[in-house]
């Protein structure tokens, strides 16, 4: 295999490496994150037990993912929501487009799963206007970039650049102090929430028995998105299903300290079916103050296949807290180029199933397998082991860089990777 597949992704990695602006954004975020997380975990000694329980919950859930999918579909239908199972990204996009239609105003809260299926461009191509309302997502949507962190999608954009982006949006100079930047987004998006025809959210965890979606956030935008428009569509990967409400609550307690260094996020919304009232003559009417319709798209897109791999299935336990990214030495220097649609070591595994294999095959060579991610992961997910396994899968399919192939040849012929001639004794 020639090495042309390497070049574009290699360029992207080196571009990131050489960009002081993005490095600055990440460095500031890492410093703030690690201090906050250490503080939060210091106040949560019970987390040691909790995260072990969550690991067991995830192990159990992934081993019966099929069954939980069936149960979730039934329970959502029971509460008058409309469930869908999308086998792949294309099917998920078709489902969304048929629900949304055309000429609609759509507001979204952050959902990496929606990025995974390239939802925004599909909805826009169908003639809709889509606004991201999570501040970070809003920033990168305006900048026409892709997210670079699963919790903080615009982590690589320092405040000075955000100010430039917002100045362009408003056609006037915007101060680069962070509170006024937040104010700009708040003012701009306010009426979009109430005028939107459709709100799209993800879900961090779903309780299969009750069909309840748990949406965790700090900004309050997901509440608006899931509540103000007449139609709410949620998308979530089938690995997010757990058996019961109390299982889901354990996940909810584990995520925030690792995701953003807080004891609990500002808002946890639980959504079980569309809004309803029976206040007049005990007759149920849907769409009282909240949405009249709730659609839930459960996405497979490689997850069933992942669950069959005895080593890579561990990636399905991932809570997407993003903690391992902030703690990853390679992510620190190459940021959002370290992966494809997901990032870091765990992201390489996710991207291998849901993104561009070629990009993964290049980025994986930037992983030192140092194992720090496993050490900081609340679920102790063995990322380096998975990365090594994935690397050998890719290598056996021909993805071996010229450098690594040379090294191997040198070892076989000369007895060392450098190709130095040694006199035998």
């Amino acid at each position: 295999m020639s090495n042309e597949w390497i070049d574009p992704k290699r360029r992207e990695l080196l571009e990131w490496l050489c960009d002081p602006g993005r490095r600055l954004g990440i460095d500031r975020a890492v410093a703030a994150y690690t201090a906050a997380k250490e503080g939060a975990l210091g106040r949560l000694p019970e987390m040691e037990e909790m995260r072990k329980e969550v690991r067991k919950i995830k192990e159990g859930s992934i081993s019966r993912m099929d069954e939980l999918v069936r149960q979730t579909v039934d329970s959502i239908a029971d509460v008058k929501g409309t469930p869908y199972l999308a086998r792949d990204a294309a099917e998920a996009r078709r489902i969304f487009c048929s629900i949304v239609g055309t000429g609609k105003l759509v507001v979204k809260s952050k959902s990496l799963t929606s990025e995974e299926i390239h939802l925004n461009s599909a909805l826009e191509d169908a003639g809709n206007v889509v606004y991201e309302t999570d501040l970070g997502e809003f920033i990168i949507q305006l900048r026409k970039e892709k997210p670079t962190h699963i919790i903080n999608p615009s982590v690589h954009v320092p405040r000075e650049d955000v100010a430039r982006t917002f100045s362009k949006l408003l056609g006037r100079d915007v101060e680069s102090d962070i509170p006024s930047l937040v104010g700009v987004a708040r003012a701009f998006l306010r009426d979009k929430f109430c005028n939107a025809d459709v709100g799209i959210t993800g879900a961090n965890v779903v309780s299969a028995k009750t069909g309840t979606l748990f949406i965790i956030e700090n900004e309050g935008n997901a509440r608006f998105v899931s509540n103000a428009p007449p139609v709410h569509i949620a998308i979530t990967g089938i690995e997010k299903l757990v058996p019961t409400l109390s299982d889901a609550f354990k996940v909810v307690q584990t995520l925030p300290p690792y995701a953003s260094g807080v004891l609990i996020s500002a808002y946890v919304s639980l959504v079980t079916g569309p809004s309803k009232t029976a206040d007049i003559e005990k007759t149920i009417v849907y769409g009282a103050h909240g949405p009249k319709e709730l659609h839930v798209v459960l996405l497979d897109n490689g997850r069933t296949e992942m669950a069959k791999d005895p080593i890579l299935r561990e990636a399905l336990y991932c809570l997407r807290c993003g903690g391992c990214l902030y703690e990853c030495p390679v992510y620190r220097v190459v940021g959002g180029s370290f992966g494809d649609n997901y990032f870091g070591g765990i992201g390489l595994v996710w991207s291998a199933f849901t993104g561009d294999e070629c990009a993964v095959a290049v980025a994986i060579d930037a992983c030192t397998k140092c194992g720090r991610c496993k050490e900081v992961c609340p679920l102790e997910i063995d990322v380096p082991k998975m990365v090594e396994h994935l690397k050998s899968n890719l290598a056996s399919r021909g993805y071996v860089s010229k450098k690594h192939a040379e090294m191997s040849e040198n070892i076989m012929r000369k007895g060392n990777p450098f190709g130095i001639y040694e006199r035998r004794q």
Binding site: A366, T368, C370, R372, K391, H404, M407, S408, I411, G415
Partner: protein, 241 residues
Amino acid sequence: MAMAGKILYWRGCMSRLKMKGIADSTEALLGLLGANYDTLGGGEGCCGSVLLRTGQQDAARSIAILNTEKISSLGYSDVVTSCPGCFKTMSSEYPIIIGRAPFNVTHISQFLYRRRAEMAGHLHPIRARVVYHDPCHLGRHMGVYEEPRALIRMVPDVELVEFKYNRSKALCCGAGGGVRSAFPEIAVEVARMITGAPLKATGASIIVTSCPFCNFNLKEAGGVDVIDLPEFLLRSWRGSE
């Protein structure tokens, strides 16, 4: 067998060919300790670690089989390595490939720690503040954290300090996993994440480590004296300060 009482000092490609000071100092120290050891000279070869790390399983298998036959047929049952990569590969990955543990493998820091009593009286003071860098393959992967530190502390007058992130949370030097060959630019930037602010915060003038790859890469990052553990102990023994 003939070599039964003897240890085999497996220098590893990096110490044997690129960071020769590490292998030479280690041999000098082993000599001072009167250790009964051999090396395989120019016939040593590669342990296969980089092949495993870069997904080249078949090549790694054949190297593991070749090395096992070579070492076992010479009759060695104890192998000591300088490189944590060789240590991890030979002690925890060869047994999987071969189906049994072909010989005992220890890292030089463990070997020296066991013979620390014989070193104790010989070490001269080194007046310096030093910080120990945990190599990922030795620390997180193999759980060896304390032996190197105990050995450094044996040197009189040394002030051993710690990085904020140490032991299981230690930062990676950036060289491992084939990154140094695939992306040297990334490897050195990752090393600078150690030799920059984290090093300054310790106030140390020397980084002691016990991996030739970490040593090489931290030196590439520049601006700091990096020394391998046996090199450091030899410097103290010889009292060249």
